[in-house]
């Protein structure tokens, strides 16, 4: 076998061409890893909003809280059904209403959708993971609101002591900021449920009921009870399943987008690797001929140049992967395709993402380097004799 140091040193000697080809490969790996990290970040962020023992009840046929309507009296019925199967936590459940307001972005042009959740006074008791980190809780029945920390300072009025308009001439005052372990709730405004109902003319309806069961295993019994009453026309689903459905659209879109960008960039980077390696084979034909004359087989020359291309692409891949991991520090705002509201995400790397990014670079190196390696293997040993 031709020693690998022969290939590695050849790469090191021609620093600039190696760097240029490796940069192209690094870019592809970077984009690919970033898209996967972002999709993962979205799934994780939305997933954090789910508790295993919480059930979401919506109108049958509604996929999201945005399109669902449930009458107030049915809320009480659902809560009673929960009690019937032995739900004992206080509060057992909450009927909430979801609305959307347009707010001006701070430091950027334009407006964006922000989710306002009309909540009952025991919202913080129902969601123990949510904690006030600044200011105080809102007074029930008042026009005070608390905001998730993802919104803080990003829209006009989203600061303690300031106000924003829920509807024309319906100012709401921000009194507190809450934290929910980075979940999607951190991108919501929580206002009094009655005031939201009034402002949006929803009469005596809400959009969803969330119920906390004593254990996740009670779900089937509860679902039978809720969906068994055909008159109600409601569906019950685990909060985790509901959230997954909401994040799926965005996650899949990102993965497809990332995959497509990686594919087109990847084809370019592979052509780059092919051109680089082809130039090497042409420039080193006397060296290759000499190796063949010394008795190295065609197969070992093919293998040697594949290794060279592989080392080149792995170098690029590692740089791209390291840069991608560095994106951990960056937060990004995106439209949640489930609710069409803005939500803040991070890039969340995992070992499988990094490994698949590096594997991708290796794949590009082997595919891009294949034809030049075949060309190298075909160099005649007679080339060694040519002056």
């Amino acid at each position: 076998m031709v020693p690998i140091k022969y290939n590695v040193r050849n790469l090191v000697v021609r620093k600039s061409t190696t760097a240029a080809a490796a940069f192209g490969l690094a870019l592809v790996v970077f984009v690919f890893a970033c898209a996967l990290m972002l999709a993962n970040g979205i799934e994780r962020t939305l997933g954090r909003a789910a508790s295993p023992d919480v059930v979401v009840v919506l109108r049958k046929g509604s996929d999201t809280e945005m399109t669902s309507t449930i009458e107030d009296k049915h809320v009480n019925l659902v809560l009673a059904q929960a009690a019937q199967i032995g739900a004992s936590k206080k509060p057992v459940g909450v009927g909430e209403i979801l609305a959307v307001v347009l707010l001006d972005k701070v430091g950027a042009n334009g407006v964006s959708n922000v989710t306002v959740r009309g909540v009952t006074e025991d919202v913080l008791a129902f969601r123990p993971s949510a904690k006030i980190v600044e200011g105080r809780a809102a007074n029930p029945g008042s026009d005070e609101v608390i905001i998730g920390k993802g919104l803080k300072g990003r829209f006009t009025g989203m600061t303690i002591g300031q106000s924003f308009e829920l509807k024309k001439n319906r100012p709401m005052k921000v009194v507190g900021v809450f934290d929910d372990d980075g979940s999607a709730y951190e991108s919501e405004v929580w206002a009094d449920v009655h005031i939201v109902k009034q402002s949006f003319g929803r009469g005596s309806t809400v959009t969803s009921v969330r119920v906390r069961l004593d254990s996740a295993s009670k779900f089937d019994a509860f679902k039978m009870l809720v969906e068994g009453d055909r008159q109600l026309g409601l569906v019950a689903m685990r909060e985790a399943d509901y959230v997954e459905k909401q994040s799926q659209a965005t996650g899949i879109m990102l993965k497809i987008l990332g995959g497509m960008i990686a594919f087109f960039f990847g084809v370019g980077a592979m052509i780059g690797a092919t051109i680089t390696m082809n130039a090497q084979v042409a420039g080193r034909s006397r060296e290759i001929g000499t190796l063949r004359a010394l008795g190295f087989s065609k197969g070992s020359i093919l293998f040697s140049f594949l290794i060279e291309s592989l080392v080149l692409s792995l170098a690029g891949g590692l740089v791209g992967a390291i840069a991608a991991v560095g994106m951990k520090a960056v937060k990004i705002t995106m439209l949640n395709m489930g609710t069409f509201t803005e939500i803040v995400f991070g890039f969340e790397p995992t070992a499988p993402i990094i490994v698949s990014a590096v594997v991708l670079s290796a794949f590009m190196g082997l595919v891009g380097g294949f034809l030049p390696a075949v060309r190298a293997a075909r160099v005649s040993p007679v080339e060694a004799m040519r002056g």
């Binding site: 140091k5 022969y6 040193r9 000499t290 190796l291 010394l294 190295f296 065609k298 040993p381 004799m385």
Partner: protein, 262 residues
Amino acid sequence: MSTETTKERESDPNRDVPPDAAVAADEPKPYRKNASPEKGKTIIDMSAVTKTFFRGKEPLTVLDGLSLAIEEGAFEALMGPSGSGKSTLLNLIAGLDRPTSGKATVAGHDIGAMSDGELAKFRARHIGFIFQSYNLMPVLTARENVELPLLLTKLSGAERKKRAETALRVTGLENRMDHYPRQLSGGQEQRVAIARAIVHDPTILVCDEPTGDLDRKSADDILELLTKLNVDFKKTILMVTHDPAAAERATVTRHLNKGKLE
């Protein structure tokens, strides 16, 4: 012919691990088992060999029914005008190329009958190459360049290193082992190439204008070294040259003209 005896050499069980290649003259170890080649044993045998190249549809016959026999242990020079086919003939003997017709038997092997893979193994075992422009790998040190032919054997890393160093000592480069080719003079580069050519103890040394790129002094040193390899180490050497002073070192000088030996 000599096919019988050369076959014997092939089947020698010790041949798989090459014997300690180039041991300096002052070292007592025997250089190789066929240290005293039988006089008259033919190692290169060409009969009615032709080589025709095609430029498009235009045939160009470079070697035209050439016959030649070279004895083991000889030091022969091959001269002739440019384009007369010297390198072409050398390529056939070295197993880099096959004849168009005729038979070329080298160290008992029929060059025309071997596949590409078999030719590669043949070269690795029987041929040491010395090129006009040295053909060292620029990214490898002198020692690493010399080790290259040993990578095709089963020798251990330590043994390869030891043999490469011995070969470099024989060519007088014990102080330049870790130098890269660009840190060496032309004469020193050619010495590295000669060390590489002898390290695996080949049957024949094939040299195409080994002094063509060197000044008189360096050329004489290289010729001195080749003479030593022939006289002290009994190497069979075939050398193409334009230099009459070089040809003088050889025991036999042949002239090639228009594809035929004169």
